[in-house]
Each structure stands twice: as C-alpha cells, then as structure tokens.
C-alpha cells in the first residue's frame, strides 16, 4: 500500500485479513481519559462525541497531491476520507478490526459475476457533493478513467489499467469530446450501478475498490492538474482554502449525511494543515500543544523521541505501533554499473544495517533489521537472509569486494543516492549508507529532494533517474492491501513501470517475478495465493534490487487535546477520519 512513507498495512493476523463481512461488534478496549503508552494501538483513547475545536496538522513537506486520484502516500489515503468517499474503505476501528474492508460509497461489497470477470457495485442513492448535486455512478467511472492519463495525474497505483479491459484508454483529457466517459471497461447501466470488466478474475477486487482513485469526481468540475486546489467533497469536510505550499483549510460540509458515511466523523469545526514546516519544529509544537497531529505519521524525530522516552508523563502519551512499513532503498537496474547483479549484491553486503537501524531510531523506535522485502505482517511471509543482514548487521566489506570483482569493478564505482531531504531519519540513513559503502570502494554522492515531489518529479521519473545517475534511491512501502500481491505488485512488477509517479523505482523487469505475480493474481484460493509471497520475495532479493533496512515501527505522539484517537492498523498511524477535540 501506500508506499513511501506512511502506509501501514500490517495485516496482523491471517484470519482477520480477508473478512469482508459487515463488522460485528469489534472488541474495542475500554478507553481511558488520555491513555497510557501504546493504549491507542489496541483501543480508542478519549472517545467522545463532543463537537468543536480546530484540528491542526503539521507536514514537513507537502502532500504529493490532495486530488484523491493523484496521491499515493499513506497519510493522504488516510486524510482524503475527510473530504471524499471511495467505493470501499477500511473499517474505522482499532486493532485487527481495522483491516476489514467495508463499503463506503457502495451499499455493499462488490459482487463478482460472469466467472469473476465482472464486479458490480451499487452506490448509495442519497450521497451528495458539497454543492448539493447527487453522486452518480458516472462520477465514479469518471474518477477512475481520469487516472489513466499519467501526464496529468502521475501519482497513484496502476491497478485499474492492468486489471480491467481496455488498458489502452488514453484518459479523458486529450481529445475530451471523444474520450470523456470513453473507458469501455467500466459500464454504468443506471445512476446507482457501476460494473467493472476485468481481463482475468481477481479475487481481491474489493481491496482495489478501496483505493481513493474510486472517490467520485464530477466531470464538469474537473480542472485536471488544478483539481487538487478544490476537490469536490463527498465527505464530512470541504476545502475552504488552499494556499499552495503553505496551508490548507477545511470546513464542515453541510451536504454530508453522516448516515451514509459511518467511517468518518464531523467533530472538529475546522481542520487546518500547515505545510513545509521543519520536522523537529512539528514535534516541538506537538508536545507543546500548538499542533494536534503530525500528518506524515511516520513517528517523531530523534530529539522528540529522546524527550518522550525519558519522561514517564510524555511516554504515557505516545504509541509505538509496528506500522507495517518497510524502510528500504531501491537499487536501480538501469544506471550503470548497477545493471550487473553482482554490483548490486556488493551494496547489499557492504551496507551497515545497524547504522541504518540507528538512523531510524534503533530497535525500539525504528524497527527490527530487515532481511526480506515483505515485512512479517504480510500474509505468506517467510524469513530468509541472503546477504547476512541479521548475521552480520555491521556489513561485510570483504564479501562486497568479492562481488565487485565479480561484476568487473574491483576498485569500486561511483553513483548517486536520492532521498527525501525534509525527513531527518532518511537523511541520516543516506549518510550512514554513504559511510558504509566507502570502505568497499563504492563512492556515492547524496542528492536530497522534497517529499512532496519525490515521486512525481525526481525519483519516480525514470528519465530523471537515468540522467542524474541515481543508482540508490530511498523509500518506504507498505502493502496496498493485506496480501503479497498488494505488497509486491507496484514495486516489482515490470508492467508497473511508468514515466512519472513510478514506484517500481528499481525498474525491475524480471520475467520470473512478472510470471509469479500474474499467477498470484489469477489464484482464487487464499492459501495458495499466499504461498506466492515468499517465492516472489526470494526472487526479488536474489535480483538484489531492494536493500531492506528495517521493519518499521513508528513512535507517535498522541496529543492530549485529541479525542477518539486510535491507530488504524491499515495505515499504521492514527485514523484521521475519526479524530475530534476534547
């Protein structure tokens, strides 16, 4: 799922993961007034129906986009539910309960038909946009088809073009009169019914329907790249103003009907997002009470971490969930000499995993050293260690050097490293990697980019990567939905490489991996499907295109001003759609 950054998939238990049933009573722990350490991981802290107050979010960069059809950060997939309703969503409750995918705009989970080649959804008839117009199935169709044009909307996964028929549809922006509503893979027999036509059966389609790309967009109001400045709201809040790079303000949407949207709440009377803040400043203000939420949700920085963990009162206001992310670095296969697998393996051996772990916060707040691509919470995970990550976490320069000889670069080589400069932990990790690779003769130059445009303009643009010889690129990833396909597809499938907003940044195009993914998608039986996870994982690690760092934990600070706080396991951070103020 949402990758880079903060998506917390963490399918905690296999049993809970694929239950699509309407949730029965989820076992919410008894809530306390402001909780103790980790109490928001398993239960709701400070439940309340009190209305009023301003929710202030702080972000060290900018969102990749506020357009629900153009975003791929976990925190945005979380945040958009404040102003949009995708077809399906994840149940708003803590613990394993929060991994269930439930209907949002749809009345019920989709129904497969025609031997699994169609999926039919009915949408709720009385949902309105912020201007009072009723949402129809055509708006959902338009929302999906507009994501096909990646020159306008570069971010986001590409499941729809891959799964549905009519993959060559160019999108509704070019040649608008001809192409608008022209995606034949989606049909709308009536204003409340929408049918998706697939190329092959795909059992997990309800998860695909939970992606914000299905949130309805009225065609008449779509301004393409400018739509993000004021998306038409179907959620509890609507955009009041968006000062680019500075601040977003949301106010309550009077046309929102809470009966149609049980997973979101309209408690605060205003939502403010402050952009481009200094990351440590965010932590300071959070602890001080000037801010209520750190938007990226990947955990506090080093200074605040030390403060929080050394003070019992502050520690009681924090949570340290396993976020379901993997922090890692892509190794690009097109930038020479990394096109040779042995040069890539040299990097795997030489990297000092302990120092990388320290950069993210050590074992307690950063996470365990990773030796596989899939974190333990992905269904079908199996542990293995090809490059001594757990046996020699300090790195093995000797082995690295022999790999270098094998790839024809016995004295080493130079390449560039890309990372997000506004995320201090990633900056530290990049520097740690640089220091670890130097003794092996691999000299890297560091290039920092802002998180908000990292995927759309820099690391996610293969042309840019090649032109600037960026061989190693940092990132983070969690599964788009609880199983191995939802984790691996967008980062390792050769078909997932796109010219901008790319997440297969290694540009891996291994026929073995592609085949395994294809087989996995076509397997209907869950157990059989999960068996593919470790096979794909092993092959990807053999290709040495990913350098895993840690299975992430995030130390989150829980502002005492908040009510209804709990960690939504799917996102690995607090559920932004449920928050209120005391």
């Amino acid at each position: 799922m949402k990758r880079r950054g903060t998506i917390g998939l963490a399918a905690v238990t296999a049993a809970a993961a694929l239950i699509l049933a309407a949730c029965g009573s989820s076992s919410t722990k008894t809530s306390t007034s402001s909780g103790s350490f980790n109490s928001a991981v398993t239960g709701v802290v400070s439940p309340s129906t009190h209305k009023g107050g301003t929710l202030t979010f702080g972000n060290s960069s900018t969102p990749d986009s506020t357009d629900p059809g153009n975003t791929y950060y976990a925190f945005m997939w979380n945040f958009v539910r404040l102003y949009t309703m995708p077809l399906m969503t994840y149940k708003s409750c803590p613990g394993a309960c929060g991994l269930q995918v439930v209907p949002d705009l749809a009345t019920a989970p989709g129904v497969a038909g025609d031997h699994g080649l169609t999926w039919t959804y009915h949408i709720k008839p009385n949902v309105k946009f912020e201007d009072g117009t009723t949402v129809t199935s055509a708006d959902v169709k338009y929302a999906v088809e507009r994501t096909y044009d990646r020159t306008v909307l570069p971010n986001g996964p590409s499941y729809f073009p891959v799964l549905l028929t009519d993959p060559k549809y160019p999108g509704p922006f070019k040649n608008r009169s001809k192409n608008m509503m022209g995606l034949t893979a989606i049909t709308t027999p009536d204003p409340t019914t929408i049918v998706f036509h697939l190329q092959h059966p795909f059992a997990d389609f309800n998860y695909v329907a939970a992606i914000p790309q299905t949130a309805p967009v009225p065609p008449s109001k779509d301004t393409g790249t400018k739509y993000q400045l004021h998306p038409m709201s179907t959620g509890p809040y609507k955009f009041a103003s968006y000062q680019l790079n500075k601040q977003i303000t949301l106010v309550p949407n009077t046309n929102w009907n809470p009966a149609t949207d049980p997973n979101a709440k309209q408690l605060a009377s205003k939502v403010v997002v402050n952009l481009n803040m200094n990351a440590n400043d965010i932590d300071n203000r959070l602890i001080h009470g000037d801010l209520t939420v750190d938007m990226p949700g990947t955990g506090v920085q080093a200074a605040a971490r030390a403060r929080i963990l050394s003070s019992s009162s502050l520690k009681a206001q924090s949570d340290d969930p396993i976020s379901g992310f993997l922090w890692f670095a892509y190794i690009n296969t097109k930038v020479a000499p990394l096109n040779n697998v042995h040069c890539r393996m040299a990097i795997e051996y030489a990297a000092n995993k302990t120092n990388l772990q320290t950069a993210y916060g050590g074992p307690f707040a950063g996470g365990a050293v990773a030796s596989t691509v899939a974190p333990p919470n992905v269904l079908g995970y199996k542990k293995f260690d090809l490059y001594e990550a757990t046996s020699k976490p300090g790195g093995d320069v000797a082995k690295a050097k022999s790999e270098l000889t094998a790839c024809g670069q016995p004295s080493g080589f130079t390449t560039g490293v890309a990372y997000r400069s506004d995320r201090p932990k990633e900056v530290s990790a990049a520097q740690a990697l640089q220091a670890a690779l130097a003794p092996a003769g691999i000299h890297v130059t560091l290039h920092g980019y802002p998180a908000g445009t990292y995927y759309s303009d820099f690391a996610g643009v293969p042309k840019y990567v090649h032109a600037h010889k960026l061989g190693i690129l940092f990132g983070g990833w969690a599964a788009d939905w609880p199983d191995g396909y939802g984790f691996f597809d967008e980062i390792t499938n050769g078909n997932a490489i796109v010219p901008a907003g790319n997440t297969n940044i290694s540009e891996l195009n291994d026929p073995v991996v592609n085949k395994l993914l294809e087989q996995m998608a076509g397997t209907q039986n869950a157990t059989a499907r999960n068996a593919f996870t470790s096979k794909i994982d092993l092959q990807v690690m053999k290709d040495a295109v990913i350098l895993p760092e840690v299975y992430a934990k995030s130390l989150l600070y829980r502002s005492p001003a908040l009510s209804n706080v709990y960690v939504q396991t799917y996102y690995g951070m607090y559920n932004y759609a449920a928050l209120g103020l005391k």
Binding site: R150, V152, G224, N276, H288, D457, P499, G501
Partner: protein, 335 residues
C-alpha cells in the same frame, strides 16, 4: 531638492535595468557556460513528468534557444505587459507584472511571491527600526560614558553579537523564550490586518534575533563616530557658547556622527535580506527567504529567477529611499 529626487529616480530606473540584465544573464548564461544546452535548461523549467515534446515546447515557448538579448526583451515585456505560457494541457495567462511562470506549481511566480512579501517586509522593517534605534542609542551612551562599566559591557556584548551566527542566536532565543519559558509561544506569522497585537507579539523574537547582530555593529560604529565627532573643535565651541549639553550632543554631535551610519545602512540592505532569510528559516516563517529555499529544493528555475529579481529590485528601491532620507538629513548632498 526636487531636482535631486528626479535625478535619483532616473538613476534608480537605470540601475534596475542593469541589475535585471545581470541577473538574467547569470541565470541564462552561467548554465550555458557550465555546459548545459537549452534542452537541458528547458527540462529544468518544465513541470512534472517531462516528456520530450513538453520540454521542446517549453524550449520553444521560452525561446531558450534564442539569443540572450531576445530572451531578455521577452522577459522585460512580460513584466510590463504580461505573457502567455503553454503549459502542455492549456495556455495560461500570466498577468503583468509577470516575473515568470512556474510550470511545476502551474502558477505565475508573482502572486506566489507577493503573498510572502508582507512576512519578509514585516520582519525586515521591524528589525531595521530596532537595530538602528537600539544600536545608535547604545553607541551614543557608550561614547558619552566612555570607559565606564556600561561602555565596556555593551561593547563586549556588541562584539559577541557580531561574532555569533544569526541562526545560533535565533535558536537559543526560540528554545529559551518560546519553549522553555512560554513568553512568546507559538511563533507563527499573523497578518497585521487580522490582529496587530498578535502580529507584533509573534515577531518580537525574530526581530530581536535579526536586530541583535546589526545593532551590535551599529553600536560599535556609532560609538566610534561619536567619539571622533565629540572631540572636534566645533563641539567645544558649542559648549563654550553655553548651549545645553543635550543640544550639543543631539544637534551637533549626533547629526554629524549619523551621516556615515546612514551611508552604511544603505550598503547593508543586502545583508538585511540575507539575515531575514536565515531568521525566517529558524522561526519557520513563510517569507521570501523560505520561498527561495523551497524553490531551490524543487529545482524550480522560474521561481528562483523571480525571487532573485525581486530581491535585487527591493534593494535598489530601498537604497533610493535611504538616499532621499540622507539628503534630508545632510543638505550638502543635494548639490
């Protein structure tokens, strides 16, 4: 006096043109000299997902392969009349004054800059007033009480002040007076039109940080100038005439000592802007300084060019104001 102002105005306009030419040349020539061709330069201007055709289009539209004087002419024309930019999917109009069009943000540069100007202007103006009045006052008192504890102490502090980096003092003041002792909590820019008291309150720490360095400088300068002036003969004469000490100091001594201060202040406006950039960064204020830094991080060339031009223009105009004030203070200059 009127003739003087007119002469200075003309000189200022000429100066603006020269400054803009040099800035423009640096932005378009230096990359050329550094080995970039116009295609590479265009790819730095174009927005996300640069396809080859988009880059070529921008190259065409901005005329990056045209001779430099043509490009400059187009730029000037944009400032006066406005320009159209083909952003790939549509054509955008950039109204005058058009300082360029940011393809990455799909917006003209001028409105983005203008929204940041009040922050930087508040910061710079407030700090300038503080440091001039504070620095001069301390310098005068130190000169008059030469050798006393006050003199030694203030000059010592002044020396420390000019030796510490701004971001250092900024951080210390933030840590002490905002977080540890909440005297100035939650430093965030509030518009003066919204809440003047809060506006001032939130700017006190940044003002003091920015002013501290320069107040120290000016205190030293004023002191030196006062000491020199006060030992002149005409001061003795004024005292001998029986004028009250205050008149002697202010009307005769200070006035003479001030003229080099004003001259130097004009030269220091560039430093003022630099200091403002650092202070904005330390306190998280969204002004022109932060705008510049973000433009660099985004590698958004039109924004970088726009803000540099604006900064240079600001200095030139401010120098004009200082010159006119100087002429008011010292009639000899007006010849």
């Amino acid at each position: 006096m009127f003739a003087f102002i007119i002469r200075r105005l003309i000189a200022t306009v000429l100066l603006l043109i020269v400054v803009s030419m040099i800035t423009f040349a640096i932005f378009f020539l230096v990359p050329r000299l550094a080995g970039q061709n116009s295609y590479q330069l265009a790819s730095q201007y174009v927005g996300r997902n640069p396809t080859r055709s988009a880059i070529l289009q921008v190259e065409q539209r901005l005329g990056l392969n045209a001779p430099i004087y043509l490009q400059y002419g187009r730029f000037l024309r944009g400032i006066v009349v406005g320009a159209h930019f083909n952003s790939g999917t549509s054509t955008a109009y950039c109204p005058p004054p058009c300082f360029g069009y940011s393809f990455k943000n799909q917006q003209p540069v001028w409105p983005m800059m203008i929204s940041d100007v009040p922050v930087t202007a508040s910061l710079a103006a407030g700090a300038a007033i503080l440091w001039l009045s504070g620095g001069v006052a301390i310098g005068v008192v130190s000169a008059l009480r030469r050798g006393t504890l006050f003199d030694r102490f203030s000059m010592g502090v002044a020396l420390a002040g000019v030796s510490l980096p701004i971001f250092f003092t900024g951080l210390i003041s933030l840590a002490l007076f905002s977080y540890k002792w909440p005297i100035f909590p939650n430093v965030q820019y509030v518009e003066i039109t919204q809440n003047p008291l809060l506006w001032a309150r939130n700017l006190v720490l940044p003002w003091i940080t920015l002013a501290f360095l320069y107040a120290a400088l000016y205190a030293r300068l004023t002191r030196a100038g006062m000491l020199e002036t006060m030992s002149e003969d005409y001061i003795r004469t004024a005292r001998a005439k029986g004028l009250p000490e205050r008149t002697v100091i202010v009307k005769h001594g200070l006035r003479a000592a001030l003229t080099p201060i004003v001259t130097i202040f004009g030269m220091d406006l560039g430093l003022l802007l630099g200091g403002a950039v650092l202070t904005e960064n330390t306190f998280g204020l969204h002004g022109l300084g932060q705008f510049t830094i973000q433009a660099i991080q985004q590698q958004d060339l039109p924004e970088i060019l726009g803000v540099t031009m604006l900064a240079a223009f600001f200095i030139v105009v401010a120098n004009l104001v200082v010159d006119i004030l100087y002429a008011v203070v010292d009639p000899r200059v007006r010849h």
